[in-house]
């Protein structure tokens, strides 16, 4: 995506917001200007700490999901018999909206970071697992045979074929689930915590009725989501340049 068109879209969005704020003319919808001022003010207070707490949770869960689900996806994609055993289980678990499990996870893993990280991990885990598995299974046998004929055994196939083939699948999975991950993070941070953007937004909006600060939290959460999306985009260009070559 070109930077200019993204900036233009942002400008249109802010203008639309401004017009809506004029029309509605209520405290619960402050103008972007007011929110901007609140954002700068809150950046000098506790907003960065909440942002970092949320960022750490998303980062740790994403890393964990990549490290655990990619190898599993690669194994299932390579082994038809293993996939036959696990496919029905994944088929059943994949569509369950993981967010409904938050209370259960908090009961088991407590109110600390672990339960929140696990929650987001769960969302990403299935997405990456399924995409990497399908990508590995879709590698053409002719390609495998020609690499085998160059002397590759199972280990070299893994290193030179399956591993690089899985990178685009991991990035596609991340791109698809970044939005869901941030949404789940918000819900997870409403439960028994005093750090994180979810808690911050809820506190400012529903307890302190400081609406501009609440919106500053929403902006921070959007920046987090957009930032992750941007990183995935950047990684894709770095790690899979062949997909952009025409």
């Amino acid at each position: 995506m070109r930077t200019r068109s993204v900036l233009l879209a942002l400008l249109i969005l802010i203008l639309f917001w401004q017009v809506l704020a004029w029309i509605v003319h209520l405290d619960i919808l402050p103008s972007p200007w007011e929110v901007g001022k609140a954002f700068i003010r809150e950046m000098g207070r506790d907003l960065p700490a909440h942002f970092l707490a949320s960022f750490w949770r998303v980062f740790a869960s994403t890393l964990l999901a990549i490290l655990i689900s990619s190898p599993l996806g690669l194994i299932l994609g390579q082994s038809k018999s293993l996939n036959k055993i696990f496919a029905p289980l994944i088929y059943l678990l994949y569509p369950i909206p993981k967010v409904v499990l938050i209370p259960v996870i908090v009961l088991f893993l407590g109110i600390g970071n672990v339960s929140k990280i696990f929650m987001i991990f769960l969302v990403l885990f299935f997405q990456i697992l399924v995409l990497v598995r399908d990508q590995a299974a879709a590698i053409r046998p002719e390609l495998l045979q020609s690499v085998l004929s160059l002397g590759a055994g199972r280990r070299a196939l893994f290193r030179f074929v399956y591993l690089p083939a899985s990178i685009p699948a991991i990035l596609t999975a991340l791109r698809q689930s970044v939005g869901t991950a941030v949404a789940v993070l918000y819900v997870a941070e409403l439960f028994a915590t005093q750090k994180g953007l979810g808690y911050y937004i809820y506190l400012k909006g529903s307890t302190l009725f400081d609406y501009p600060a609440m919106y500053a939290g929403v902006v921070a959460m959007s920046i987090l989501g957009f930032g992750l999306y941007f990183v995935v985009d950047w990684l894709e260009k770095k790690l899979s340049p062949w997909q952009f070559a025409n």
């Binding site: 053409r140 390609l143 045979q145 020609s146 160059l150 002397g151 030179f160 990178i167 062949w242 025409n246």
Partner: protein
């Protein structure tokens, strides 16, 4: 160099493709395997590459039974088999990377080899790919992709070159160009070359000797000598036209 002894091969469904089939290839010969679709020609080539194994019988290469792909045998397939995420240079050096990955173990890589990274550059130059070295396969024409596959195989200095319908998906001028190139390379590097094709003309162009396969099960070894092979201007040579017409007759019968 290659001996196929009493080979029997069955597809998973139980269809017998080869039954007690025997065939031998001498070092430095250029063979083509010709036959209609489903006759087992690609299966035979996969067995020679050590990628599929017969139900009975054996294949000997240099008197040793073939139990896995040989590091000195090169295979080129119709759809090139290039890694889409690797550049032309990375694809050409893939075999070397795999050899480095295992080390000279005699199984995945030969115990002694004098192939080096410089050879990659040499082959890129030789096959006219130097300017495309940083491109990805998706950015190349069909002919360039197949040149890349040929470079990747020959950089490993194989003694046997197996090709499975290598030029089938290319247009006629590119195909003719690459056919001439492989004959040149065969002569330069004293390769033992076996090409599978379903095209009668290609069988006559690339094969000193032609192994004809028919509707399975193949039991009999039908071999035709091709005196027109390698002659300049062979297209108008009466022996070329004669062998083509003979092959046409044999396939039709």
């Amino acid at each position: 160099m290659i001996k196929v002894q009493n080979l029997s091969f069955e597809y998973t469904g139980g269809q017998t493709v080869f039954q007690n089939f025997n065939w031998s290839v001498n070092q430095g010969e250029a063979w083509t395997i010709l036959g209609p679709s489903g006759c087992g020609k690609s299966t035979l080539l996969s067995c020679l590459a050590g990628l599929r194994f017969p139900k009975a019988g054996q294949i000997l290469v240099d008197e040793k039974p073939l139990t896995r792909p040989r590091p000195q045998t090169g295979l080129i397939i119709q759809d090139y088999g290039l890694l889409p995420w690797a550049t032309v240079r990375e694809n050409v050096s893939l075999g070397l990377d795999i050899r480095r990955f295992y080390g000279p173990d005699g199984k995945h890589a030969p115990l002694k080899s004098n192939v080096s990274e410089n050879d990659v550059e040499k082959w890129l130059e030789r096959l006219g790919l130097a300017e495309q070295a940083k491109k990805f396969p998706g950015q190349l024409s069909g002919g360039q992709r197949q040149r890349c596959a040929i470079a990747r195989t020959l950089v490993l200095q194989p003694d046997i070159l197996l090709m499975d319908e290598p030029f089938s998906s290319l247009d006629a001028p590119t195909r003719a160009d690459l056919q001439n190139l492989v004959i040149e390379l065969w002569q330069e590097h004293q390769l033992t070359m076996i090409t599978v094709t379903h095209l009668i003309e290609e069988a006559a162009i690339l094969g000193q000797k032609i192994l004809l396969l028919k509707t399975p099960p193949n039991q009999e070894t039908i071999v035709l000598d091709n005196p027109s092979f390698g002659r300049p201007g062979f297209q108008s040579d009466p022996t070329y036209l004669q062998i083509c017409s003979e092959l046409r007759g044999q396939i039709g019968s």
